[in-house]
């Protein structure tokens, strides 16, 4: 989707990963507006740097979460939400009313830890090792005494289950 020149494909990429980004940012920042602005900047930056995404290095969700994490660090350091990519892309700030803020807040409260805890232990361990500890597939395979292919399968099934669980949360 990131390699495509069709803007709608980027829209699909956004739809697929916005839940993960919001639930990553939600517990780490205070204020629904900040979550929303950082989400906008994350995807604007993902679009700007889409040429740098290499599927061989990991799935797109991990790549976009690293962007979110770096923006979060940058924003804390600069004491403001960075928004250069959004501005360069020409996406104007979106004004949100109270009801929308409430909705953003609800989405931000999706607890990824709870989602991971609900997964089979082998899948959550594979996901944590891959994306939190940033271990490579061969490294995880060596630690878990199984093949790389098995690890990849656990990660991919775990992500699919996690995505479904996130969508099912109120």
């Amino acid at each position: 989707m990131l390699g495509s020149r069709d803007p709608d494909d980027f829209g699909r990429f956004y739809e697929r990963h916005v839940g993960a980004v919001v639930s990553y940012l939600g517990p780490r920042v205070r204020g629904a507006e900040v979550v929303f602005d950082l989400t906008a900047e994350t995807f604007a930056r993902a679009f700007e740097h889409r040429g740098q995404f290499d599927p061989a290095r990991g799935p797109a969700v991990a790549w976009v979460l690293v962007i979110a994490r770096n923006l979060l660090i940058d924003s804390v350091r600069r004491a403001r939400v960075v928004d250069e990519s959004r501005r360069r892309l020409g996406v104007a700030p979106i004004a949100v009313d109270d009801a929308q803020l409430e909705l953003i807040e609800t989405r931000s409260q999706v607890d990824l830890r709870a989602v991971l805890a609900g997964l089979p232990a082998e899948q959550s361990e594979a996901i944590i090792r891959r994306f939190v500890l940033q271990e490579s597939y061969p490294e995880i395979a060596a630690r878990l005494s199984c093949s790389e292919q098995v690890v990849r399968k656990r990660v991919s099934r775990g992500l699919a289950n996690a995505r479904q669980a996130v969508e099912e949360q109120p």
Binding site: V18, T39, F43, H49, R57, A62, R78, V96, Q100
Partner: protein, 384 residues
């Protein structure tokens, strides 16, 4: 109620659609010249006493802004966003155009089988209380640099003679073309297995290092040989600025540009007050305003950059830009920042009184030259 996330998706898709329809920029792709990572190693071995053991300190000159990462694959496995070793790297800097900001955009790209890049905009210029211009950072699991090593980079201000990295490495900053006048580059390689650096411009509590992880301290040493005390709590200089967009009228800020009627200004950011940045060390530029114009179907951004330390004095050089042949007073910078992203740094500038009028975007150099000649500084009002 409209779901704000749906609204955001629509805004993104719309912006991308407009972007894809913009006329292609005439780009001049410059190939990156690769240099071996030229580090001059002078191993200094001090034997204090026969019983005190040996302390070895390596002093090296900073590597250049473009070169090749050593092929020194260490043990273990590569980090997902780390280096493999042997990549050609390039560090590019350019001034921030966004109104109200006094800072620099910095990008590093690594060309290799797994090319990657990262960048940030808005890093403040070195000041007396924080004589560094922050570079990038990759967080490693366990706080230890993984296979392939790490290339660390940042700039230092004119007061810095050397930088101590941990207990055993001293790096001498390097002067390079394309940097803000007076600032120097500090680029060095840390092999796999090294602890991460603990950058003073980045408060420790935000580093997110694992508990107990060792780090390498970064200490700037002044021309008198004494360490420079930094103030991590120093407020980052930023002018109060307002973003506006049509149909809203531009606010009456500290600066204004005069444009011909064919230039339709549709949004921008204007500094409401313009104050000198007294703590800045070297040559620094502050953007007093930035305006997006639509000119006969193409869009371009214009900014007025002033001398950060003294906005009523002549501005320092527009770093990285060179004179354009046959266009007196006009400077230009146009280059590929690397990788396949197609990201092109392209801006053109002209001095108008005590400001640089800088234009980026448009359909190419000719249009940018026409724009910097058509636009004029109508107001620079310094507060206080």
């Amino acid at each position: 109620m409209i779901d704000p996330f749906d609204e955001l998706r629509d805004h993104l898709v719309l912006a991308i659609t407009h972007l894809e329809r913009r006329p292609a920029r005439t780009s001049r792709w410059m190939r990156i010249r690769s240099h071996p990572l030229a580090v001059t190693l002078i191993a200094l071995v001090f034997a204090a006493t026969a019983t005190a053991g040996v302390i070895s300190i390596t002093a090296e000159r900073s590597a250049p802004l473009a070169g090749q990462v050593p092929r020194q694959a260490g043990p273990g496995l590569p980090h997902a966003w780390g280096l493999d070793g042997g990549e050609h790297y390039r560090i590019t800097l350019w001034p921030v155009l966004q109104g109200g900001v006094s800072g620099v955009c910095m990008m590093i790209t690594f060309e290799g089988p797994n090319g990657m890049g990262s960048g940030t905009c808005g890093a403040p210029y070195p000041t007396h209380s924080m004589p560094y211009l922050a570079g990038g950072r990759i967080a490693y699991p366990n706080g230890t640099i993984s296979k392939g090593g790490a290339l660390e980079y940042f700039l230092t201000g004119p007061s810095v003679a050397s930088v101590r990295i941990g207990a055993h490495l001293i790096v001498t900053p390097r002067s390079e073309p394309g940097l803000p006048a007076g600032d120097h580059a500090v680029v060095f390689y840390l092999p796999a297995g090294s602890p991460e650096i603990d950058p003073p411009w980045f408060p420790a509590q935000q580093l997110s290092l694992p508990h107990g992880a060792k780090t390498l301290s970064v200490v700037a040493v002044g021309r008198n040989g004494a360490p420079i005390t930094v103030d991590q709590g120093a407020r980052q200089f930023r002018l109060p600025a307002r973003f506006w967009e049509r149909p809203e009228k531009p606010p009456s800020g500290a600066c204004a540009l005069a444009a011909p009627p064919s230039y339709y200004a549709y949004r921008g950011t204007t500094a409401i007050r313009l104050e000198p940045e007294s703590d800045v060390e070297g040559a620094a530029l502050t953007s007093c305003l930035s305006v997006d114009y639509n000119v006969a179907g193409t869009t371009l951004t214009a900014a007025a950059l002033v001398n950060a330390r003294s906005p009523t004095s002549a501005p320092p050089a527009l770093f990285g830009a060179s004179p354009v042949a046959g266009q007196p007073g006009v400077v230009n910078r146009e280059e590929d920042a690397g990788l396949k992203s197609g990201r092109l740094i392209a801006f053109t500038g002209r001095r108008d009184g005590n400001a640089w009028i800088v234009v980026e975007g448009g359909s190419g150099l000719a249009e940018r030259i026409a724009a910097v000649r058509a636009l004029h500084v109508a107001r620079i009002r310094v507060s206080g």
